[in-house]
Symmetry: C2
Subunit: 254 residues, 2 copies
């Protein structure tokens, strides 16, 4: 079809067109100093520097040397800007995910690479989800996830479900880590000290009559300090648990 490209530009909703950076290439009117890409890049840079809360239209505009209202020509709304930022910050999938291979190891890598992205852009875990992956980078990650499961023989629904679980897990692990870090903001405590403090406060509040299991946990279980990096270990424990679940689905499918 000769109109394939033209159709792309016309029939796709405006929001998707911006996500995919489909140029409108109308040469009329005053030429633009700005484009979607530069607005999004500025917003991402701002979020990286000062956190998601600092990303306001006035401040993004200021960092571009422009007034806030001009941004609306390129992003439509604050919410849409967040979608664009998410896709941009996710970035393309790293080369390590290019090939195919044993699904478990590929899927594990997929998860840990996602975690790396969330560590590089901590605010990313706080951007509220807005639906299935729609942007080019989101699709790239999605494609890589599907590729990691290509050899499993799972049907599409199972693959999609497994990917959503794994990536949801990575996100909530990152969220939790950030919430803990934020909670001990100011107090000069490290992770272990904060956990001890939490355990102590809970031990005082949790009545063993009403909450026997929780009281047992706070009373004794948590206080052993292994000295190792707890967060990392917890993450991998959970990830392997998920992979075991996927393994069961793969096996049950045969």
């Amino acid at each position: 079809m000769e109109d394939g490209q033209a159709m792309d530009q016309d029939r796709v909703p405006l929001e998707l067109a911006r996500l995919w950076r489909i140029p409108l290439d109308s040469k009329l009117g005053r030429p633009a100093r700005l484009d979607v890409g530069s607005v999004v890049d500025a917003a991402v840079a701002l979020a990286d520097r000062e956190g998601l809360a600092a990303v306001t239209l006035p401040r993004v505009a200021e960092s571009l040397g422009v007034t806030k209202m001009s941004l609306y020509r390129h992003v439509g709304s604050k919410d849409e800007l967040l979608d664009l930022m998410r896709d941009a910050a996710n970035g393309p999938v790293p080369d390590s995910l290019a090939g195919t291979g044993p699904w478990r190891e590929r899927l594990r890598l997929w998860a840990t690479e996602q975690l790396r992205v969330l560590e590089a852009h901590p605010w990313l875990a706080q951007v509220p989800p807005s639906g299935p992956p729609s942007g080019p980078n989101g699709i790239d990650w999605f494609d890589a996830g599907l590729r990691s499961l290509r050899l499993t023989g799972l049907d599409w629904g199972a693959k999609v479900g497994a990917l959503m679980i794994v990536s949801g897990y990575v996100t909530s692990a990152a969220q939790l880590a950030q919430a803990l870090a934020a909670g001990r903001e100011g107090t000069g405590m490290d992770q272990a000290a904060a956990e001890r403090e939490y355990g102590r406060a809970m031990a005082r509040l949790v009545d063993p009559e009403r909450f026997p299991d929780a009281a047992a946990l706070f009373g004794g279980g948590l206080l052993e300090d292994t000295g190792e990096d707890t967060g990392e270990n917890d993450f991998h424990f959970g990830l392997e648990l998920l992979l075991d679940g996927v393994a069961a689905a793969v096996a049950g499918d045969e």
Copy 2:
């Protein structure tokens, strides 16, 4: 010890004292028309009626017949109010979770009861996480989760990890469902129609050269309409997958 109660009131941080509704019982000063409970109840009711975005200090105050600044006497800040709302809306664990029994069935029930709570208070899934469970209801749910795993022989760390995964999964499933529902707001599409529309848009944008697996998915896989309630089925598929993962941990522990 005779000073047990007094210690509770003194040594516990103010925020925890409010979560646990520990009365200050100082009889001095002007008597309060408000207390933490009524502020939180009003905020929860408002969120139930009009969503989380409607919960602003002015509006909560208005619904209590009070000016906004008086709320700060009882809740400290907006963020703290959100914490209090979360704990209140979680509510105590339902009776069905009281006993003990086969872990898999108990844990499954724990998850589905959590989902019911999230359906009753849709805004709950959007409240940003603020750390480990700290309020009485949060502890109640936590205790019930630990109880469901009591007979597994898992160590504390594994139990806590498994619970975090399951409850994180329930939350992100609810978040996704809401994002999808919000996305098709206005458009009179049902779930299936919206999915078809999404698949069609993606099929147009996703280049099979760059994204072979994703293109295959959008090209053919998603379009079979089973007619059944997809969301429910997806949720249970994922939950059983997680339970399989926990089962592997339980088995590996022996």
